[in-house]
Symmetry: C4
Subunit: 314 residues, 4 copies
């Protein structure tokens, strides 16, 4: 914030003087270089991009919401909707895994416990190929409305399913539809988690105090999230491309003097479609052309955030 305020004060003075065009100031940023820190990330990155790959299909409740008309008579199974979800693990995750390899990047996979148990080999493959497994609750259901003990069990069971299946001990958390309750962060701290993502308030990670200890928030996104294609029913892949590209362009410019993170999210049965994987490929390739941008798993981002704080304190 300091950098911004400094800039403001200068701008105001100049404005009062009425002589120097603010646009010229912008065109000559070198004059103020000494008051700005060029690189904000401890690993030397100018900017960080974090991709989520939601591992949820197979764990959905019976007759879960889908693109099919929600008018099924009571007492029947929504059989085609089930096949829409199956696509997530039969095509979606495998295709995305190939795409990340092709692009040479690692992502964070938020895994629902029941989805992991349904497809343990695929879950393990995600981890074996170098991606982070993060917890996403034991079931595909709300947790904000559970008692403290029930919620703790809900979180712990999900994490253990991941650990047992993939060998990866999750340190990050994502609640169903981001809806954590009043106790969630305390429970996560107790269980040894290092970060959660259920926060949309910033374009950079930050540290909060939970039970008097540091806890990292790695912000998530709704607008760079493939859920738009389902929720809006008329968001198309080219709109998604253009929108995320604009998001990156702005953050990249800001990242010269500010710590900036871009979060992008894909769900197995949506982001795993050919059209979305192609779109993700084009987006990542576009981003990779920019100097100083690195793709990070969210556990890496959390670590860097904690490390940066320690460094700053020195």
């Amino acid at each position: 914030m300091d950098t911004r305020r400094t800039f403001i004060k200068q701008g105001s003075l100049l404005g009062v003087a009425g002589i120097i065009n603010p646009l010229e100031i912008f065109a000559q940023p070198k004059l103020k270089e000494t008051s700005k820190e060029k690189t904000k990330w401890s690993d030397g990155s100018r900017m960080v991009v974090s991709i989520s790959m939601q591992f949820e299909s197979g764990g959905q409740p019976e007759n879960a919401e889908s693109p099919f008309p929600q008018n099924l008579e009571a007492g029947y199974k929504d059989l085609p909707a089930e096949t829409w979800y199956q696509y997530g693990y039969k095509e979606g995750i495998p295709r995305m895994l190939d795409n990340w390899d092709k692009l040479g990047i690692k992502v964070t996979s938020h895994m629902v416990g029941t989805a992991v148990l349904k497809n343990p080999d695929l879950a393990k493959e995600v981890v074996d190929r170098g991606h982070e497994a993060a917890a996403h609750g034991m079931n595909w259901s709300s947790q904000y409305n559970l008692s403290y003990e029930d919620e703790k069990k809900f979180i712990k069971d999900g994490a253990e399913a991941i650990k047992k299946t993939t060998g990866f001990n999750p340190v990050g958390y994502n609640a169903n539809w981001l809806r954590r309750g009043e106790n969630t962060l305390d429970i996560l701290q107790e269980l040894g988690f290092k970060y959660h993502i259920d926060d949309l308030s910033r374009d950079e990670p930050f540290i909060i105090q939970v039970k008097n200890k540091d806890f990292v928030v790695v912000p998530y996104t709704l607008r760079c999230n493939d859920i738009l294609l389902i929720e809006g029913k008329s968001f198309s892949t080219d709109q998604f491309f253009n929108q995320v590209k604009a998001e990156f362009d702005q953050l990249y410019e800001e990242s010269e003097f500010k710590k900036r993170q871009l979060s992008i999210s894909f769900h197995d049965r949506i982001g795993g479609s050919p059209q979305m994987v192609k779109t993700a490929y084009d987006l990542v390739r576009y981003i990779q052309k920019h100097k100083g941008v690195s793709f990070k798993r969210k556990d890496e981002i959390a670590e860097m955030t904690l490390f940066d704080k320690l460094t700053i304190k020195d």
Copy 2:
């Protein structure tokens, strides 16, 4: 899946070695050529595209859902909505038939029994021009909630209407809004059908066992389906073009080493509009520029799928 897993294991080893960039591996696929089968379709196609042309208008129930506001007072007929449906057979199917001829492709037409009886000459013309007639139920209504016998009659009557009218004996099936019930596949097997399409789980056809006999699933699509233009109310034809193009681009790349099928769907009163026929024309022309892609009727795809299995068994 084997090919993918082989690739994964190699990738992991290389990743551990930390020397070879995964992108370089991708750029030199010839090294692994021996472990990959180049062509997956028995007719030599690299990839198959299957188009559906839904023959439904005229068979809709009174005051069926339409783009008009759904606020008609009880006791009245929705006269303009009826003309919206009439467009399907007066302009839609004839225009699409001309388009397929122009493009030199054959498609699969899922026909509602009552729609066939309403416009028998047009239904026959579809078949006379070389397209496949597939069954789509006797009426435009749900079947998942029928008794075994009622559903069997529902399916059989629809198939017989097609057979009697067009001379074509349907071997493929599509349920209303894809909503089959628990008995549907058994009934289809009993009645001699060879495949159904009410499954979104894969980008390639596959064989399942129904009553201990092979039955083919030729997967369908919601995202490359013109129903998007009606359901979403704000999906435009250029969005449709871009989205299906992206879908093809990805599947085509994958098709070098994998059996891939692209499914596209058009409904008489929606996909038969001038704007959508132009869009379909542009899409097919774009796809036809790619080597090794063939457009197939779904009965041909089912046949090839069964043949491939036999070949693989040898």
Copy 3:
């Protein structure tokens, strides 16, 4: 239809022979020229485009639907929504009138009786500038649910308001949301109307028998209608442009051998916005670059349709 069928039969034969590529046939249409009539419109036009300009604002009922949230407490007036409607006559119609002049075209204006009485000078100006005034009911309300006599009065009063105000005697009719009732056509015939537009079934005008006399249907459109921008809430002007352009491209190609009409519709408070008028301008300019296309008022189209029939009879 004859032309199409002839083509089909040829196509089938060729298909059986299996020698000639259907695409080559298409590339050499001159061979079949003798069996096709090149021009289908009596005035020599290859294709006709008809634009509607709905004159409705000011005639809407209190608290009529608008883009504002529909959650107003009972007993209050929706004041900002009223200004949204005022835009229709304060900016929308005047801007569109200037645009039509600039483009050198005449359109058909469907006028609600109460809207005409609210802004008589503007209604007269529409006619004075060469456009057609068509009737659109006395009030902005449903008529399909009225008794025969009430509906007759409803239609007649609206037509008389137009006649008295503008001097133009309307011969065309458009019902609220196209929803005519079972008696509407009979009443229109009795009152001396020559055509109605509440039909979406064709891309060309046609004649029906009403009370044993000819009555013309000049088909309307929902998909090339600016109402999409309001109904869908997320249809943008560039989508509208692309969609109508695709519609024209296809119809223009068909128009070489077939009577084709493109209908486009604008509403005062929607299509009269700067962004839509710019879009309409670009669309019309694009269309005007194509040889043989003429822009016609719907009364002219109805006249030509009746004349063509007489000519054909000869």
Copy 4:
């Protein structure tokens, strides 16, 4: 209006003569130059663009509507939705402020009283950087349904919160969702306000009589408003760009002979996202390339409108 009518009469005469093509008239506007006033704004601007930056986040009621599914169980807080709102003041306003500086323009910020009290430093910074603070009610709630005295207090308290916090005395008003009541304008006049924006009826400011004194209306917009991205759920930033660009293009052309104003609106938590700030930047840069366009705060527009009237009276 005179100019338009004069043009019309000429057009009609020419039309009757049938000799001169209206398009030629348009191509030679110099002939009529004497009857047109070239510049309509008192400061010499050809056209004025006014941007709003809604300062609302932090002032929203508990569990206010957000992009999250509106299905929260009663008795719980919507915690992720709160972070969505926090984005407005943590990232949105600061980013937009930097953008306006970069672009060298000043905007009008409609501020909810409770939002100002929640983030007084940020509110002051808006004013310190040269922007206008306008009133937007004490709370984020309806006022059309309040009694005269309650509404007066509601408006006054909000204005005083702004005055006390920023030092800026607001002269402009915007009601929640533009929904003023029957008493609102009287109250605003009593309290010394000079203009309000809750009117969509024109593309230029105008003067109305309130309690027998001049009061300015500076029209607002829904279609060039980032609320589209939330309300429609599938409006993307590129659609927004294209739509506002088309709006400007048309108004700029009209502005040669007519007083034209373009209004664009951004909300802290929506328009403050990177993708929208990038889009706003591109739009403003595009507009700035056009000669004679100036960006004005709405208080400046109101002043000019009053001054123009006085000038015209002379």
